[in-house]
Structures are given as structure tokens and as C-alpha cells.
């Protein structure tokens, strides 16, 4: 996403020629995420039936546990790199931020949220219900099933990357999010993140007292409650819209003052 820029040298006319946000980067990241999702789905198609039926088989270890180890090492590394980058390149002079750059950063934040929502959809819709279908054809003999390795240890850590990343972006680059923590934003990021800790309860339950797979059993309701918090994105978007209106108002005043000075 966009990084801190120096604005003093830029005229208002030059600023207007800049794109509203970093759409190219957002499109690139979205396509990369889509490519990863397609890779995971093809991996499942190829290796679930041939190497994913019995967790004690060497083939299971070679295909599925290798994928798990790659996910559990690469995605946390992406967390550290991305979040550290956003933190260490933070804008330390937000008081001097010009309205047009602030507006651009709001668009970058919305684009960040789009990528987050894109990942959330794959996790909570596409790969989540697919998990129900897999557990109806193969009895689970491990917590690390072919569906879980992609759903819980692939797609979910990936959306945590973008959820926390977007929160850090707002907190480090937008004055109103830096000085006041947005509760809807916290809910929209922390709620889906808590699905991961809830996974511990899910696996414990399936391991010790519930081998059947009725999806609607109370064992799964923790996931449901965490999923509700995604709705807080609505509150966040309303907040962003209100902030942007205020920025546009300031921008308008600035432009009028600029015109008056030229006359």
C-alpha cells in the first residue's frame, strides 16, 4: 500500500492527477491471493483422494504435512514482514498531512479492506462448507485433514495478515484512526481472528466426544459468533465514509483558497 510521501513540493494541480488510491498494488495482491486459492483447491483435488485418506500413510506425510509445514512457516513470516513494514514506515508527522493525501490513504484503506474481505470469503464460505463435504466421505483420523490444512492453517492465517495489516495501516497513516481506536474496526479484525483459537475447542471436541459431523452441533457455534463480527465492517465503512466527507470538505476549502490567491 501507499507509503509516506512528502507533499510540500507538490502543487494542488499535480495532486489531482494522482490516482485515488494504489489500485495497481491492490489488483496485484488480489490476483496473487486468487492464484493461491486456486493452487490450494487444485492441490486438494489432486492429493486428497490419492494421499489424504489415511494420516498414518507415508504419502499423507509427504503431501499434506509438507503443505502444512510450508503454510505454518511462510504465512507467519508474511505477518512479521508486512506488519513490521507498516509499523516502521509509519507517518510520524500526521499533523502535516494534506487533505488530498489523506483522501488517497482512505482509498488505500478501503482497498486493503477489499483484499481482507476477499480472503475472508474464501475462508468462511468456499473452503468452510467444503470441509463439511470432505468429512462426509472420509472419517477423520487426525486434526490435520486435507480440508483443515487448507481452511484453518492456510486461508484463515492469510486473512489475519490482511485484517491486522489494514488495521495497522489505518492506525499508522490516518490521523483519526491514529488518535481514536475504531471499535467496529477492532471487531471486524479480532472476531474472525478468534476463529483460530476457537479451533482448539473444535478439535478437542471432535477428538474426545464427537466423531460425527453434524455441522449444526453446538460444538461449532463458536465459529458462528466470531463470524458475526464480520458485520462490523459495515460500521467501519460508515465511519470511513464520514471521515472522507470531512476530508473532502477540507479539500474543497483548500481549493477555493487556492483559487482566491491566484486571482
Amino acid at each position: 500500500m501507499s507509503i509516506t510521501m512528502t507533499h510540500n513540493a507538490k502543487s494542488a494541480a499535480e495532486d489531482r492527477t494522482q490516482p485515488l488510491g494504489n489500485f495497481k498494488l491492490a489488483a496485484g495482491v488480489t490476483l496473487a491471493v486468487l492464484a493461491l486459492m486456486v493452487f490450494w483447491r487444485i492441490f486438494q483435488q489432486v492429493y486428497a483422494w490419492s494421499a489424504g485418506l489415511d494420516s498414518t500413510e507415508p504419502a499423507f506425510d509427504a503431501a499434506w504435512m509438507t503443505l502444512l509445514k510450508v503454510e505454518l512457516s511462510v504465512i507467519p513470516l508474511l505477518w512479521v514482514v508486512t506488519w513490521a513494514y507498516l509499523w516502521f514506515t509509519r507517518d510520524r508527522n500526521l499533523g502535516a498531512l494534506k487533505p488530498r493525501e489523506e483522501l488517497r490513504r482512505y482509498f488505500n484503506l478501503v482497498l486493503f479492506n477489499f483484499v481482507y474481505a476477499f480472503c475472508v470469503w474464501f475462508a468462511t464460505s468456499f473452503f468452510a462448507e467444503q470441509d463439511a463435504s470432505w468429512h462426509q466421505v472420509v472419517v477423520r483420523d487426525t486434526s490435520f485433514t486435507p480440508s483443515h490444512i487448507v481452511l484453518f492453517y492456510g486461508t484463515m492465517p492469510l486473512y489475519v495478515l490482511f485484517g491486522v495489516g489494514s488495521f495497522l495501516y489505518a492506525m499508522t497513516r490516518l490521523p483519526k484512526f491514529a488518535t481514536q481506536i475504531s471499535i467496529p474496526f477492532v471487531l471486524a479484525v479480532v472476531g474472525p481472528f478468534l476463529i483460530l483459537p476457537n479451533l482448539g475447542y473444535n478439535e478437542w471436541g471432535h477428538a474426545f466426544f464427537l466423531m460425527e459431523e453434524v455441522f449444526s452441533y453446538p460444538l461449532h457455534w463458536g465459529f458462528v459468533v466470531m463470524g458475526w463480527s464480520v458485520l462490523a465492517l459495515g460500521g467501519l465503512l460508515i465511519q470511513i465514509a464520514m471521515h472522507m466527507l470531512e476530508v473532502i470538505g477540507r479539500l474543497s476549502q483548500e481549493d477555493q483558497a487556492s483559487v482566491a490567491t491566484q486571482r
Binding site: 478501503v110 483519526k176 491514529a178 458485520l231 459495515g234
Partner: protein, 285 residues
């Protein structure tokens, strides 16, 4: 804002640049909402009423008819609060249900059919769009959440079974299999075995003398309609809660290297976020 010529958008004259900003923002928000609602609603629905929706032989006259509208009216109600009170858009319920069905159909094909090899005839999701349309129309006509709950939510549940009957009827035809009388839906599911779903936990209506009268679906629909009213009221308020713009001061501000001069003026902050309450800021309803 300078933008040269003006353009007409949403029935208003806008400076060109403002119109561009508005259009781009609207498109991004629409995409985010579609993905987020589809994901969250689908997760909620699959883990509360999903089993009845996933399998043709679970679509009975008692549990499926009772549970589905109760669990499916949740997100439409929450979104109706936001769409109607903030934007005067009477499309929230239909939008929510279309988002849900999008996720379900994608999954039933790519997951259940292409990966786990269940026939599509076994895993067709329930149809909810007609009930959602009526729910939206009820809000449009009454403009009031209480009347919408009493009429729209009631109709949402009552319409569920008739809505689905036309495509479900063929699966209710009786067939004789190895000397046993079963429905076509049952037979499909016996043929494509579910290893983690043994028959003893199939939660469907049990045949009793009471159900021979054929009233089960009607009774279940009315009970579901009653509970749907309550669910609608609860979820309208959950939507209200989650759409509130609440903020709290960032105690890490100094640690981040920010100073007081970076803070927006208090007056401006109040104008943006609403009234300040003991350090917190809550947007006016």
C-alpha cells in the same frame, strides 16, 4: 473541490472529481459488502441450519421448515437496519440472501460435487429469494421495523415451504428399495453414503400417527414464523449495534511518536464521530 465541469449522479449535480470519488468508493464498498456478507452469512447459516440445507434427505417437514427461516432471517434483518436507516435502500434482505446463495451454489458444485463426488441432486440448497423479496417489500411499504417484523418476517417464514415445494416434490415420491418404502430423496442419500453422518443422528421428522394428517409442515411454518418475528427484532438491533461508529482514545499514541498537534481538533472530531462520552466517541443514531 475543483473539477472542471459538473456531472449528474444520483439525481444531483456533482463536481466532476467528487462524482468520481463517490462512484469509486461506492463500487469498492459494494464489492466488500458482497464478499463479507456472503462469507459471514454463509458461515453462520452452514453451522446453524446447514445440515438440513446440504442434504436432500434432511429436507423434512419439521426441522428443516422450522430452523431454516429462523436462522436465515438474521443477516437480512441486520442489514435492513443499515441499508434502510442509513441509505433508504429497500434491498437488504434480497441482497443478503443472494450473497448466501452465491456462496452455497459455488460450494455445492466445487466442493460437494467436484471434490467429494456427491450428485448435485443430493446437495441442492434451499430457495430463499421470494421470502426475502417480501421482507424487503414489507419494509418499503411500512417503513417501520416493528411492522416489518410482524408482517414481513412472518411471511418470510410462511413462504419458505411453498417456495421450495415445487422443486422438492419429485424427491418426495415413494419408491420401493429392497422391500422398503422410501422417498427418492432418501434413496439418493442411501446410495451416496455419508461416513460421518450415520442414520441414528439424521435429525428429521419421525413418522408418527400425528404426522399422517400431513399438518407437520404447516405447524412447523407457523412456529417458525413466530420465532422469526423475535429473531428479526433481535437482529435488527444487532445490526444497529454493529453499525455504530464507536471510538476510544489510542493510549499508544505517544509510543507511536504522535503528539497532541497530530490530533484532529476536538470540535471536528465531535462533528465526525458524534457526541463524546467520557473519552469515547459514539455516533448519533
Amino acid at each position: 473541490m475543483q473539477g472542471g465541469t459538473s456531472v449528474r449522479l444520483y439525481g444531483l449535480e456533482w463536481p466532476k472529481e467528487s462524482a468520481r470519488i463517490s462512484r469509486v468508493f461506492d463500487l469498492l464498498v459494494a464489492a466488500i459488502l458482497f464478499l463479507a456478507v456472503s462469507g459471514a452469512f454463509h458461515l453462520h447459516y452452514m453451522l446453524t441450519a446447514g445440515d438440513w440445507d446440504m442434504w436432500i434427505d434432511w429436507k423434512d417437514r419439521q426441522w428443516w421448515v422450522t430452523l431454516t427461516p429462523i436462522m436465515a432471517i438474521t443477516f437480512p434483518a441486520a442489514l435492513q437496519y443499515v441499508f434502510w436507516t442509513k441509505f433508504r435502500l429497500p434491498i437488504a434482505a434480497t441482497f443478503a440472501v443472494v450473497c448466501l446463495l452465491f456462496g452455497q451454489w459455488i460450494n455445492r458444485y466445487f466442493g460437494f460435487h467436484l471434490w467429494s463426488y456427491f450428485p448435485m441432486s443430493e446437495v441442492i440448497p434451499a430457495l430463499l429469494i421470494p421470502g426475502a423479496l417480501v421482507l424487503d417489500i414489507a419494509l418499503l411499504l411500512t417503513g417501520n421495523f416493528l411492522f416489518t417484523a410482524m408482517s414481513g418476517a412472518f411471511a418470510f417464514a410462511l413462504l419458505f415451504y411453498p417456495t421450495n415445494w415445487f422443486w422438492l416434490a419429485p424427491y418426495r415420491l415413494p419408491v420401493e428399495v429392497m422391500g422398503q418404502l422410501v422417498s427418492v430423496g432418501d434413496y439418493i442419500s442411501y446410495a451416496f453414503t455419508r461416513t460421518a453422518l450415520p442414520e441414528y443422528i439424521r435429525l428429521i421428522e419421525r413418522g408418527t400417527l400425528r404426522t399422517f394428517g400431513g399438518h407437520s409442515a404447516i405447524i412447523a411454518s407457523f412456529f417458525s414464523a413466530f420465532v422469526s418475528i423475535l429473531m428479526y427484532l433481535a437482529w435488527w438491533h444487532i445490526g444497529m449495534l454493529l453499525a455504530r461508529v464507536v471510538t476510544t482514545p489510542n493510549t499508544l499514541k505517544n509510543f507511536m511518536g504522535l503528539t497532541d498537534k497530530d490530533e484532529p481538533a476536538e470540535a471536528a472530531q465531535k462533528a465526525i464521530d458524534g457526541t463524546s462520552l467520557q473519552g469515547r466517541s459514539v455516533a448519533a443514531e
